[in-house]
């Protein structure tokens, strides 16, 4: 009897092991990256990001401004390095148009680090945008949406000759790792797949903010 029970347990363990193995194989190799947008007139890029943060402390310390806030307005997109005529021609030919950049108005609800005040509206700059019926963005950094509430770790790019000549603007600090959406009081990294994202995903907004504040003023 005991031998029979043992055999059944062994069999079950084998099935579980095989199932786990199949699952592992399916998930680890040659997996296609899902793309949540329609292919028609949407062009998605992949980028090599400048920074790769290993901790919240590192990301906080490295950023000029860390804020909680909401996107209140989406400005018109503009082309960098290409003429509108060339971009239109490329779109009409089904080719890849020039590089788009979009500015967003972002209202600050809470300042965790840096020189800004609650209620300030700052300008965020992001690669990608809309042009002549075409949407363009970078895979790990989807375009900001109106009313999107986030915690952002920003770099001050004011005065940059290309993106912010004679203007005060900010951009995400070196990687979309530095952009977190707040949904129902929980924090979700926009760029998935790295250890830091796994560590921070699902934290409450309150806990996340406290963790940042502890870095800024321990």
């Amino acid at each position: 009897m005991k031998t029979r029970v043992l055999s059944v347990i062994t069999g079950l363990l084998c099935v579980i092991t095989i199932a786990a193995g199949i699952s592992y194989l399916a998930s680890s190799n040659g997996q296609q990256i899902p793309e949540s947008v329609a292919q028609e007139r949407v062009i998605v890029a992949s980028a090599k990001w400048i920074k790769d943060f290993k901790s919240l402390r590192e990301m906080t310390t490295d950023s000029d401004l860390v804020v909680v806030g909401v996107v209140t307005d989406i400005g018109p997109s503009r082309l960098i390095g290409d003429s509108p005529e060339a971009a239109d021609a490329a779109i009409n030919a089904g080719a890849i148009p020039g590089l788009l950049v979009t500015d967003y108005q972002y209202k600050i609800e809470q300042v965790l680090k840096g020189k800004a005040s609650v209620g300030d509206i700052i300008t965020l700059t992001q690669t990608g945008g809309f042009w002549n019926g075409l949407t363009q963005y970078i895979q790990d950094d989807p375009l900001y949406e109106l009313d999107e509430r986030t915690i952002l770790f920003l770099q001050d790019i004011s005065g940059d000759s290309v993106l912010a000549p004679n203007e005060q603007k900010y951009t995400i600090n070196g990687t979309p790792q530095a952009r977190f959406r707040i949904i129902d009081g929980q924090v979700f990294p926009v760029m998935e797949g790295d250890a830091l994202a796994n560590e921070l995903r699902g934290l409450s907004e309150t806990d996340f903010v406290q963790m940042v504040l502890q870095v800024v003023a321990p």
């Binding site: 031998t3 296609q32 890029a45 090599k48 920074k51 080719a95 890849i96 770099q155 797949g193 790295d194």
Partner: protein, 178 residues
Amino acid sequence: MIDRRHGFAMAMAQILLLGLMLFVIAPASAYQLLGGKWSTLQLNYYIDGATYQSEIGSAANSWNYYTGNKVQLSRVYGQYENIRLLTANYGATSWYATAWNSPSFQSIPYTYSQIRINSQNLSWLSYSDRQEVVAHELGHSLGLGHTNLTGCILMKAGGFCAVYPRADDINGIYALYP
């Protein structure tokens, strides 16, 4: 008592055997595929811009060499190109370079690929790091996605350590173009 010991030993042996099989079968690969590919790996590239021509050439040659010429990237100077590399100052972006495949990353076959290199951000990198950035983007042009595996050319951020395609990147090419 002997039956019980025998059964237990058999169970352990089966579990160990299955575990071993899984480790042997399971690949160490972490490469990701974008979902699309070219109909051929004999591809022409054109360099639009005067800077970083040597780094771009070295990056293209590294894909040719380390894939045993399975990938054959050839520079052209005016004829039709499959891949266009544009170097310009795109400002204080968060990225070094981007790759755009047409009609889309999921398309089979790709008809065109465009790589945009931000000279402002590459200006503070060493020659080998610039070569690595270009090799990374060429990997996207070929159909490879990002990986978090350290040491691969397709690492999505930071971490300059590959310079040329590594085993996992090459495995990705062989999986995509058997």
